[in-house]
């Protein structure tokens, strides 16, 4: 199968296509940095998708539950042993993803006789100040995307994850216009819900060039909120506490959503 290089390339391409198809129905996740922390949000309660990794790190993931579980466990193990042998301040999301998770996911993806990880993950680490917040998206092939400033783009204080690239890009362009890093929690919550709605709407259409109408987004959001549970969590920017992550219950959030 892989005696010749082009066969390997072909095998990889097939594998990519297969994984993309598997992930395509994944419900979007949005992570938004706001004044007092980072909010993670998604809708739909088939299974838990948001997780605490360490004191200042949380994760959201879509994909196969078994693969998500293995990666989640690995991230917790690495962070916990680092935090134990050195200190909690030495646990860094950047190192965790760049040096540990990404290489392993890449080699699993490229070894065509073994199984790849069927998972796409979104990590965030809360900093002492909003500028120090870090968002990282890791793909099934080990590809890492950060929201830091580069030549091509300004720094973003949010990151999103969705089943398809199109859906993700729609959410990003919405948040680029709608979200400000110094937003209050209520504002961030509304933006996150709208971003989720846009992402989820886009999953069902094959070509969405423009962002949907505001009214359509509101209607879609209301319909889904009526019969779906919100899953959310925050990494609180509070220097006085070691453990920053706190899951938020559906009931806690409902009364904050006005319309």
């Amino acid at each position: 199968m892989i005696e010749e290089p082009y066969r390997w390339v072909e095998a990889i391409a097939n594998r990519r296509e297969y994984i993309e198809a598997q992930l395509a129905s994944g419900s979007p996740i949005a992570a938004l940095g706001y004044r007092d922390g980072i909010l993670f949000l998604t809708l739909g309660q088939r299974r838990q998708k948001l997780f605490e990794i360490y004191d200042r790190i949380a994760m959201g993931a879509i994909g196969h539950p078994g693969d998500i579980e293995r990666l989640r466990m690995a991230a917790i193990e690495l962070a916990s042993t680092e935090g134990f042998t050195r200190s909690a301040a030495d646990v860094s999301l950047r190192r965790l993803v760049h040096y540990s998770l990404s290489p392993v996911m890449k080699s699993a993806f490229e070894q065509v006789y073994g199984a790849p990880y069927l998972a796409r993950m979104l990590f965030a680490e809360v900093g002492e100040r909003p500028e120090e917040d870090l968002f990282l998206r890791v793909e099934y092939d080990g590809e890492i995307t950060t929201t830091g400033a580069t030549f091509a783009q300004a720094r973003q204080d949010f990151a999103v994850l969705s089943g398809t690239q199109q859906s993700r890009e729609q959410m990003e362009s919405f948040l680029k216009a709608d979200h400000a890093p110094d937003a209050s929690f209520e504002t961030a919550l509304r933006s996150a819900l709208d971003a989720w709605s846009i992402g989820h709407m886009t999953l069902q259409t094959s070509d969405a060039k423009e962002l949907p109408e505001r009214a359509a987004v509101t209607k879609y959001r209301q319909e889904h909120l009526a019969n779906t549970q919100i899953e959310a969590g925050i990494l609180e920017r509070d220097a006085s506490r070691a453990i920053c992550y706190r899951p938020l219950s559906d009931t806690e959030l409902r009364h904050l959503i006005s319309d």
Binding site: R70, G83, S100
Partner: protein
């Protein structure tokens, strides 16, 4: 951090959420000593070596939860090593471990314990039960028993926590060096000054103005200070209250709301009014 996640597929540690086991697998937990590999067989220099030890700690239930107090002195033989040692350690939002014995071992235990509870909660997505927490400390003590037999690592802790299930109540445990756990109904004290402390707490509980469980916060702090001061009177290893240096015992309170460190200024006020 390790670059490889090979261990990931080799084991199912996640299903158990056992942090000490993870540390052992990675060689990060000191291997236990065996009881018969005696230090005494070594040179005279070794036999005369004295480990640093922390001394008297006490805890009792009062109307506002559990009060845990410890003096501040650490000694090695006849030498005072440190007069501001912290023997009352917060393990999580509702649990305190207080230590008498060798601080090197005890602080490491506290660290393992602290990480164990969080590791369990994060991997298993549920809080460890109080029984599970109590047992986790017991296991660490048992694993350490080899060092105890060599005479270098004895730790006799007290563990205080607040249990929300099934019935919300404060729980208090003390241990022996081998890891046996005993649940205390009213009070516990360990360390070299503990005989005096136990005498006072027993007396107060039976013939004092109120039973310990009925005491208000300031009354409870006052009794803790008196007990430690009494212990320091006859036991040189207990610091009690250093009147000249203004060093007061460390007092923490566990309740449903979490842990509060009783501020030193308030301790000083209670001390001045009811003890000194």
């Amino acid at each position: 951090m390790e670059p490889s996640l090979v261990a990931l597929d080799r084991n199912f540690s996640g299903a158990a959420g056992d942090f000490p086991e993870l540390l052992r697998r990675r060689g990060l937990l000191a291997p236990g000593a065996t009881a018969n590999s005696k230090l005494q067989g070594g040179t005279p220099h070794q036999t005369s070596w004295q480990p640093t030890e922390a001394t008297t700690i006490l805890a009792f239930k009062f109307s506002g939860g559990v009060l845990v107090a410890g003096d501040r002195r650490a000694t090695a033989g006849n030498t005072v090593v440190y007069d501001r040692a912290d023997k009352v350690l917060e393990i999580d939002r509702h649990s305190i471990m207080a230590i008498a014995g060798v601080p090197a071992t005890a602080w490491e235990m506290a660290r393992v314990l602290e990480h164990s509870f969080q590791y369990f909660r994060r991997t298993q997505l549920q809080e460890m039960s109080v029984d599970g927490k109590v047992r986790a400390l017991s296991k660490l003590l048992r694993d350490n028993f080899g060092f105890v037999m060599q005479g270098v690592g004895v730790v006799v802790p007290i563990f205080a926590t607040y249990d929300s299930h099934p019935k919300p109540e404060a729980r208090l445990y003390f241990y022996d060096a081998m890891g046996a756990q005993f649940e205390a109904t009213d009070y516990a004290a360990t360390g070299s000054g503990s005989p005096a402390v136990r005498g006072i707490l027993y007396y107060e509980n039976n013939w004092g103005a109120k039973r310990l469980q009925k005491l208000g916060e300031d009354e409870a702090v006052s009794i803790a200070l008196r007990a430690l001061d009494t212990a320091a009177e006859s036991d040189t290893a207990t610091g009690g209250v250093d009147r000249g240096g203004k060093i007061y015992p460390l007092i923490k309170i566990v309740s449903r709301e979490g842990i509060v460190t009783f501020p030193e200024s308030k301790i000083a006020a209670v001390f001045k009014e009811t003890v000194a």
